[in-house]
Subunit: 71 residues, 12 copies
């Protein structure tokens, strides 16, 4: 039971609002194709600027999901 | 006067709302037992996911507090 | 056309509200003196604490801007 | 012949016994779905504790596998 | 429109010629199976030596591709 | 319920046998004085050598424990 | 005489040809506005991809230049 | 005998004189409340500037001390 | 009042005497052209050797200065 | 007496059994040609996989040895 | 057979042409005095600038070679 | 002429006085057996504590020396 195996994938989410929303957008998209999402870790926060304003925030995430039930 | 000594401790705060609130929860809890809190630095942003949604954000902080008046 | 050259500068923005606002404050200030801002990357999130509460968040950013039109 | 291409994926294996067994569990599981596994690199060693004892060790691995025969 | 989501995968390309060609070989191979490749970042440059000469260069890359049109 | 707060402390355990036992020795000692230990992360593996043999392995750990019930 | 002071600035050069040319483009541009350039260090190699091909390589550099004669 | 357990704490010492004295100030203060101090490692050297002069140097240290005799 | 903005620049100071003096030389030089210097952080300590002796120490610093009054 | 000088060399040991044995194999080999070995630090844990199984573990070590008696 | 032991040494090669040639120069020189060279890893790319042009590229390498047949 | 090759070795010097003297002790010792020492870089500053006082400072250095005249 304690011998779970996880796979880790890296995604980048973006949002015009801020960091929290960019994380949520990334997780929402990942949950459409990956089952058993379990945790995330932020590995990078970047963004694009246009005309002196932040156009969107980009947050890089590592996302872990359990493989156990797939074998 | 310039020879302040600080101690640094590491805490992890969490929140269902987002990164800023997780930081505030961690500082609130630390201030219950540590006097003279002076600064913090974010060292990790993670979180847990359940049913494809973020259950809570977890933010790891280093927190510094002055030791001067304790000796 | 693909041979753009960027310069990267480092700034620290702060805000009493939170991380997103500290980033915006830094970009607003940078856009007063630098043209052609293109991207940013967060390199540090810190803050000051007074009386057990967060006084302000400080966010360190690398900011890139195009040099092409200046030559 | 020397122009091999590899893909690298990240997995987390766990075991109640120790670090070596957690690595083996991760490789065993990866070999069920990935062909041509070639090397691994440990990127993190963590674990969970319950009632003052180590419940299981968790080892994060990067695993490389050849893509050549797939194209 | 600004809320693009990217996935990041890691590949290792090799070449007997040099670093630039190893990067190109890796991107060529990745573009056979992944649509919408957008950027790469070099994370490691290694190589094998035989009889005192470089047999091939190996370059590890993170490669990002847009997920938007797949959902 | 999701707003747990953890404190993180760093310890170094040692053992003449190997890495796994050095981790267990460190956790055993920590559990004598700290309640609610929850997780550990290995941050360093070192050791001392005498007369050409490993005298003992030393493993540095970050150990997290919940603060919730203490307030 | 040995007490030289340097300033370090960060630039990003790009080229459709490869890494060496991107470095040269960055140094050429920097030498238009900065005197006494003395050394560089590569801090990042990235690039953009379009239609499955590398559109341009981007190389981030730290560039050092002497301040002595400017006082 | 070889199974010593250490705890590691982080402190920041400061001095108007220089780096060596800031380290000594930190160790002096730590030795008032911690027994069996065994080693230190410098993790950061910073400082404050006022009116164009260094007001004080700040040195962050990890400090290790044996727990054996405390159990 | 809490919304200060800083800019960070990187300089390298050198001295034949030692690390502390190299830091002071760098700050002295920076204060000739930059107002409102506030803090520094050491990012590298290097040096040159000639005839088996240290010719000079070189210390790389990040230096922060407030932008508020310039806008 | 406290002014010991050490030299540090880097070696990679391997073993089909596990991490601990790979460390021992590396130290055994190093002790054949280097006197006064004093400490080691693990800097990398990797391994090779063949037919879906771990063929051998490879552990990179920094090894320190005293130079005092050699002068 | 799987219990190979490697030693790792660090060298810096330079070239007026570019990165690939600087790597080759370093390996050529190392192969004059070291047998059984097996792999290299680039750890730093730097260079010197004179009169606004790159005088030479410098590439730092870790180079591994087998010790087995020497004992 | 620009194609110098360097080798890099790592040493640890110590001193009861402070960081600068520990660096000098390490370079003095290295210059007894290595010709053409050219530069050093500090990679670690540690020390031992006894009876609440610093017994000696230990400074880890990478030291580079030219190989050209040896071939």
């Amino acid at each position: 039971m304690s011998d779970h195996i996880y796979r880790v994938t890296e995604i980048v989410g973006s949002s015009g609002e801020g960091v929290d929303q960019a994380i949520r957008n990334a997780i929402d998209r990942a949950s459409q194709t990956l089952r058993n999402l379990d945790w995330f870790e932020v590995v990078q926060v970047r963004g694009h600027i246009a005309d002196g304003r932040i156009e969107h925030y980009q947050v890089g995430l590592k996302v872990g999901f359990r493989l156990d039930g797939e074998g």
